[in-house]
Subunit: 336 residues, 4 copies
């Protein structure tokens, strides 16, 4: 088993997908042990650390990477199986942020009202019981929420020579902020440049659907990823697979276009997998499908289109069985 560990020094984080040299080279089949910093670059250390003051644009949402996968070329697909996602600290931070979030005017949905108050919340994490404690800032209200660790951001270098801020999700992945990206899931990303150049960041101990205030339970993560390369198979938009489901994503504005992209990809993928014609696949996905909301706060919004493999007949075996193979590889990994 080929295991690589990587913990970036502060200056090694990336803030774009694309436009950045690889921090390391990996062979397909590698198990990668990563540390990822939180979206605040670790600078929020108390509820008095307002992000707009302690963080420095554009040094937001750092990602760990990019990693060059040997042999990856445009037209291939990277398969990243998330073996484990473990909070690296005993607490997480959340906040409002001026002109960011779904229920406020933003730089894009520009209004003349003053921004909402900027406020920070600390969540204590109980890793044994897997709960995070919400504590109101104004009053005594408190409640325990189940942890459900995930990564908001994973992606590769974009096509067409672009470099995009890590906060933006698009066809290359990026800041999709979907709760579906948890341990046990394989993410498929189409390769646009030699080596693929994938990176991972923005760990959340938990997130509500849509990440409505703009941030989740932001925390540094110790994450293990098993990396595979599928040669000669392109992937138009990031796709996810868990043991029971296939998922397509779409990231765009307005939100219905994110929905359209994700459903369109799931319909056309279903055609390939089942042999159904377009209309029959459209009908099947329409009745069998789910549509978990990713984010409704970032520079593009993200929707996921999801279908149970059992509804696809024998059609649920995708990417040459990469998910099952990576599951087996992960099961042999005994941890750091």
């Amino acid at each position: 088993m080929n295991i690589v560990s990587y913990r970036p020094s502060p200056e090694e984080y990336s803030y774009t997908f694309g436009g950045r040299a690889a921090v390391g080279k990996l062979r397909p089949g590698t198990i990668l042990e990563l540390f990822t910093e939180d979206c605040f670059a670790g600078r929020v250390k108390s509820v008095d650390d307002l992000p707009s003051q302690v963080c420095e644009f554009p040094y937001l949402n750092p990602v760990t990477g990019p990693f060059h996968v040997e042999g990856a070329e445009p037209g291939d697909t990277l398969a990243l199986h998330f073996v484990s996602i473990t909070p690296a600290r005993d607490h997480a931070w959340s906040s409002t942020f001026p002109l960011f979030g779904a229920l406020t005017g933003t730089h894009t949905t520009a209004t003349l009202q003053p921004p909402l108050e900027e406020r920070v919340w600390r969540y204590d994490l109980d890793l044994d019981r897997q709960v995070a404690r919400y504590q109101a800032r104004n009053g005594d209200f408190t409640v325990a929420l189940p942890m459900d660790p995930m990564h908001g951001t994973v992606g590769v270098a974009p096509a067409a020579g672009e470099a995009r801020m890590t906060i933006t999700p698009d066809a290359h992945g990026g800041n999709m902020d979907t709760t579906e990206l948890r341990a046990g899931v394989t993410v498929y990303l189409g390769v646009n440049v030699e080596g693929g150049l994938f990176a991972v960041g923005d760990g959340h101990a938990r997130q509500g659907e849509g990440e409505v205030c703009g941030t989740a339970l932001e925390c540094a993560m110790n994450t293990v990823v098993a990396v595979e390369l599928i040669k000669g198979v392109p992937t138009p938009w990031p796709r996810l697979e868990d043991d029971d489901h296939l998922m397509s994503t779409g990231s765009a504005r307005p939100l219905e276009d994110a929905y359209r992209i994700s459903q369109h990809d799931l319909v056309t993928w279903t055609c390939e997998l089942t042999g159904l014609d377009t209309l029959d696949a459209y009908q099947l996905v329409s009745q069998a499908g789910q549509a978990p909301v990713g984010n409704v706060c970032d520079t593009n919004y993200t929707m996921v289109a999801k279908v149970a493999k059992r509804y696809l007949g024998g059609g649920g075996d995708v990417y040459e069985g990469a998910h099952a193979r990576l599951r087996r590889l992960a099961s042999e990994y005994t941890g750091p």
Copy 2:
């Protein structure tokens, strides 16, 4: 127990919310047994019955009602508890429809491409096993999908003297097409006119999230609704309650505005229920909330904002305990 049964004759269906006299008067506390016709007004009877040919605009999406609830006045809330929703036939119909659905140009998202093919699918319903059978039109592919009966359309007469086609969801309810509206759920609707004038229709044996092709497993329903009236409590947008969750809805375009409306209502409702200030409630809903997609195909799109009552402290008791009371009333009902 006051039980009223109503099965409309063909000319008694309504095609608008508002602009129509009541078909009957009910006292609060009534159990109402209803028959609802499918969205095709029952005219699709084979896969060769194309809706655009056998249906006649605007006689689409008939609803049963409206019912006048005695004592209901503007500023009150109707509580409609769905005791049971049972397919009235052993099959359901679905179809594409020219210029309708999420993955086609429409009359609003107007394009110059020819419309998609219009195609009808028949689903056989096995009420004992609660499964519906998908059968491809082009090929042998078939799969059983679990039934999950629901109503796409429920609403009251709108405010401001408006009358709206039943196909349109808005603040008065209407064609929200959310899978959350199943048996066991209480729907709260703000009263805009004397009597409230609610109506119900558009039964689905099952629906995917977003109803992407524009129709679900459309079927006539035998439905039982327990009706309550909450005096002096207004409701800005339709809300739902099941045993474990509170839900707000929003219906608008673009889809992010439906999301904003529903999340905004859930945040402000959470403030009322918990005593949290706005920012603290925003944070709690952001991390604890879900956002099930209703429809992304109708003339307005619908999103649901949902939170588990257990995350609201003691704050989950709403509308004077109407849901629990209606649950009890329903449990005493022994059926038609």
Copy 3:
């Protein structure tokens, strides 16, 4: 010449299109002299009269009418030629309004920020010089703006038994708020119900494109309309004609759909008028067309697609020459 004068008493105004009996019957060919009240129902009489306090929902945006046109049936088109639009007072009012306008959160684009300040501006109108004077509320800044009187609202009873608040523009017309609707222009409206039931209101002494703050220079108007009926010619969305241009409108959300509707209608109309095929007409409109913004503040947004008749070859003669005929009729009218 058949001339009818109508000045509504306060209780005779309408607040919906549809759902209201006619206030009068007109024969085609009639010249109609109307008084229309301002969008505040005349209740704002000083800069201290805040609309949210002095106006009463839903009694906003009163329209004068509806008028029944004899012989008008579904499938016909009403042609309303605006002979003159003259401010009825020597001043106009404008205001911000809580949660209304393009640069604020609204009930639909729901945010948690407090609303913008509500403020009222008075414009003195100099009818001789045709200028309106802007005067800052906070400071001495003042400037004269040219008057360009228009009606924000004109429409007929909607299809499908609907009734819509006068503030909403849609396929039946309504509150389009386009600066193109000035004297000298003919508006074409498809008839949905017997008599058509048209109404007119919401006079503006002047308006910026998009009506960004939500109101224009709102004023009561003395308006003269020449009314024609085109039998057997349907009109899908309101169209306008001036001496030199043809215009289609679209009203929807998001704004690109209003654009799409208006451009789609202009392309298909161009096909009819020129004999060009769809692609050739699409190309011609793409290069020759204009796209004046109507409103970006109402419950639907409005865009206009506009093309000079001279670019359509001999194809600019529409609706059986109604515009020219109404121009001649207007020229014979010597005023009240």
Copy 4:
């Protein structure tokens, strides 16, 4: 007078803003004579050259540059005055393009319908009479349209280390496709990186508002730009100035957000220029402003907010009088 001429060799064009070394260094005050290729990279040479076949993604929409302006640093503004824009050939090309344009499903507004036909139109340009001839592909219809040469694309390297395809407009400029960017106009672009790194391309002999089919009268241009640097004055979004008007731009999706950005910038700019408070400026822009549509077909849509300088009191003198100064410099330039 410092005059620089630059005609790129085929491999010197850029296809991104950002991520590319400068092709040359300029001192402020330079007059720059440029050749720009058309958006098809010059590969469409007959109506049988379908862009999807003869062009090669991502080598679309080439720009000439980027140019490094000496002394330009983040926080400064580049002023680019377009002295002249002259078609370099006697013809222009337009086309539909599969899944591109406002009246078709796209990769983002993803539909299952087949794409529209791809068709190419040739326009003969008469530079003396300044007219372009439309000729239907299917039939004899032909019409002369006035030329109004402009550049669809101008921009600088984006902030935050991003590189964006030239087809995308955003805060750095890019493919705004506004008809306002014609000769006689000064464009102000905020500097994000040392040297600014501006580039220019996508000449149009003429364009309809919104560029509805996705392309205009695409032609190579000989263009003269006078370059100035305004130190210490930032510019949030591209702004334009002609002799009589100030303009702000916004580029985003949905289209109302492009409108909001542009109007918000014009309101806040008006505050600075006039001393009006926010509400008074909002009111003035609401009544005095125009809103020319840029594009409704690109990856972001563009709107322009425009106000006549004469309505701003003495407030129309901006950027230290750069426009007037560049106008004078241009008047001294006697041409290549």
